[in-house]
């Protein structure tokens, strides 16, 4: 029983980190109608950036985010300008292929620089732990979760309390109408993509602090992130949140009561079952918005 409680707690805490990465993905989809297959690679890139800052400049992981997040934001805007915007025909389909290409390049560059060896981030709060409900929990799980809560809170304020947020949600609801009332949807798209990538950087730091990774970890990550956003309903932030917490709890509980090797399989099978009943995911909309 104690093990199951432990699994649920760690599942919820890591689920918050996944929510961070998945919210970037689903936000970009909601606004731009594109799927960023490169999100997994960008998360790993964010983790490596934190690793470089920590190893070479001895900058604390959380302080380092003040550098990596703006950097990744700019990178995201550049990717949008250079590769997504030129797509003229059938954006949704082609964006998948283009971002896959971007992911391959990132993976290749990371492989060249860091080789295929697994690395892990280091900090006192990763090694230190504290007792809770009969087991020891590393501080990083709590810190990572708090980071996710703070960033998602900021994202919420940005979306619902600022003028840019209004433009963004207007673009999400109806791109053409948003353009008609004078919103620069291209600019909104670029900034949204940047935000999504910046969130990947933060998620990457928290991911790299709890798991050892190399460039190939991107495949595993993107499959989970895609599963999460389909499960929650594409374009729905709340859906992504619920799905990431749900997925990680299910995984952790499965690995305790059954076997770790089946943990992610159970989630994927559940995903297929959900899609059979609700093809649009938990909170996805039937038919979607009108153009």
């Amino acid at each position: 029983m104690g093990l199951i409680v432990e699994a649920i707690i760690t599942g919820l805490l890591t689920g918050g980190v996944y929510a961070l990465m998945a919210s970037g993905l689903t936000l970009v989809f909601g606004v731009m109608d594109i799927i960023n297959i490169g999100q997994g690679a960008l998360v790993i890139l964010g983790a490596y950036l934190s690793y470089v800052l920590e190893q070479n400049l001895h900058i604390d992981l959380f302080v380092g985010l003040l550098i990596t997040m703006p950097f990744m934001f700019v990178l995201g805007v550049l990717i949008e300008l250079l590769f997504i915007r030129p797509i003229r025909r059938d954006r949704t389909m082609f964006s998948i292929l283009v971002t896959f290409g971007v992911a391959l390049i990132i993976e290749g560059v990371l492989n060249l620089i860091f080789s295929a060896d697994y690395v892990q981030l280091h900090a006192w709060y990763i090694t230190a732990s504290f007792p809770v409900a009969g087991f020891y929990l590393s501080y990083i799980y709590v810190f990572g979760f708090l980071l996710a809560v703070v960033l998602l809170g900021v994202l919420y304020l940005l979306l619902y309390r600022t003028k840019f947020g209004h433009s963004l949600r207007a673009t999400m609801q109806n791109r053409t109408a948003a353009e008609l009332v004078g919103i620069d949807v291209e600019r909104v798209s670029a900034i949204t993509f940047g935000i999504g990538v910046a969130l990947a950087a933060a998620g990457g730091m928290a991911f790299g602090a709890t798991t050892s990774f190399n460039a190939n970890s991107a495949y595993d990550l993107i499959s989970r992130l895609l599963a999460i956003i389909i499960f929650g309903g594409m374009g729905s932030l709340q859906g992504a949140l619920i799905a990431s917490l749900g997925m990680l709890v299910i995984e952790d509980v499965t690995s305790v009561v059954w076997s770790p090797v089946w943990a992610s399989t159970v989630f994927f099978i559940l995903l297929v079952v959900i899609l059979l009943i609700r093809p649009q995911g938990l909170l996805g909309q039937v038919g979607g918005r009108k153009q």
Binding site: I87, L97, G101, E107, G108, S223, S264, L275, Q280, K290
Partner: protein, 373 residues
């Protein structure tokens, strides 16, 4: 015009048949076998994705199912290396097709991008199964396949005597040279079948229905195209072909692992080849694979499976998609058509008329995902 085309195709076929005898160097024929395998896989993928416009990025799943089926059958039935595993290739294809039928039925309930994402997710499910069903797949240790020993083979000996008699090859090298040859011809045979199927689909009423689905699925439904069964049938056909490729590939490289049989770059590779050549054409995927696979093999040989090769591959991918979204074959065909129009006008009137500017396709109205219930 028709005669040129027929003669050209016959010359190509003769070249394809004679290739391993013209270039007997094992290094060359190895690349040729890999290239042919990709030509078949891309052709098979194109039958579904090219004709229906549904981009499936998870066909490595069926490749892997085919590979594992052959490996498991050979292991359980204690089949020695030789020609018999080739006879099991269609069986492996059928198993892959059955998997494709089940997974395709689920995936095809949704459209467009959700479909793409689901195919990717399904690919990862099967890869995880290959890791986890250790009783069947041996997990990450992988499975070995029987190693063919052609040296005592009657056909091999006769061919050797013939070619040595012609002083085309030296007798000592023969075993190395012959090793790839059965794989080459079996793959070529499967390729011819795949192209025949692709041609038939493209020129049949059934294929017309698929193209209608690509252009406007709702309208096609309204016109009486049975969209659901048509898409599923195309999906199963392509899974069958890709599964057979996986089986031949597994027998060729002799040992398979979950990450090599279920390879995410395979998904991208065949999509890229089809896009480069021209999605939805018959010659396009063949051309794309013929151009890209030897390039890829060259880079792998030159730089190993390292990051550099991934960077080049990704960059190539971006260039092709952004600069040549129509693919080589449709672009050339449009050029040729405009050239012909210009020439015939010149002949008729004796004056040069500037070619008609290329008309861009009318912007498609983008639609948000519609659920096909």
């Amino acid at each position: 015009m028709r005669i040129f085309k027929t003669v050209g195709l016959l010359v190509l076929l003769a070249l394809a048949i004679g290739f391993p005898l013209l270039f007997p160097n094992p290094a060359v024929t190895t690349i040729a076998v890999f290239t042919l395998l990709f030509v078949v896989a891309t052709t098979g993928w194109n039958i579904f994705s090219g004709y229906t416009g549904y981009i499936a990025l998870g066909h490595a799943a069926y490749f892997g199912v085919g590979a594992y089926t052959l490996a498991i059958l050979c292991q359980d039935w204690h089949i020695p290396g030789g020609y018999i595993p080739f006879l099991l290739v269609p069986v492996a294809g059928l198993v892959a097709a059955a998997a494709g039928a089940a997974l395709g039925w689920i995936a095809l309930r949704v459209r467009r991008h959700t479909f793409v994402v689901i195919t990717i997710a399904m690919f990862f499910i099967l890869q995880l199964l290959a890791y986890n069903l250790t009783g069947l797949t041996n997990g990450s240790i992988g499975l070995g396949l029987p190693i063919p020993n052609w040296s005592s083979d009657a056909f091999s000996t006769q061919l050797e005597q013939l070619l040595v008699g012609l002083q085309w090859v030296t007798p000592g090298d023969w075993n190395g040279i012959f090793f790839n040859i059965p794989f080459y011809y079996v793959t070529l045979a499967v390729l011819l079948v795949a192209i025949a199927i692709s041609w038939w689909v493209r020129h049949s009423k059934y294929g017309l229905g698929l193209l209608a689905i690509r252009d406007d699925e709702d309208r096609a439904l309204g016109l009486g195209v049975k969209a659901g069964p048509s898409k599923l049938a195309a999906f199963v056909i392509s899974a069958l072909i890709v599964g057979m490729v996986g089986a031949i590939w597994a027998y060729f490289i002799e040992s398979i692992y979950p990450f090599s049989a279920f390879d995410a770059t395979f998904d991208v590779a065949i999509a890229l080849m089809a896009f480069l050549g021209g999605l939805g054409t018959i010659a396009g995927p063949v051309l794309g694979a013929l151009l890209l696979e030897p390039t890829q093999q060259y880079f792998t040989l030159q730089y190993g499976q390292s990051g550099f090769y991934l960077v080049i591959y990704g960059a190539l991918f971006l260039v092709v998609i952004l600069l040549l979204p129509q693919g080589v074959v449709p672009t050339l065909r449009a050029r040729w058509a405009r050239f012909q129009v210009a020439r015939s006008q010149q002949q008729e009137t004796g004056v040069t008329i500037t070619p008609i500017p290329k008309q861009d396709r009318p912007a498609r109205v983008e639609r948000k995902e519609e659920i096909n219930l």
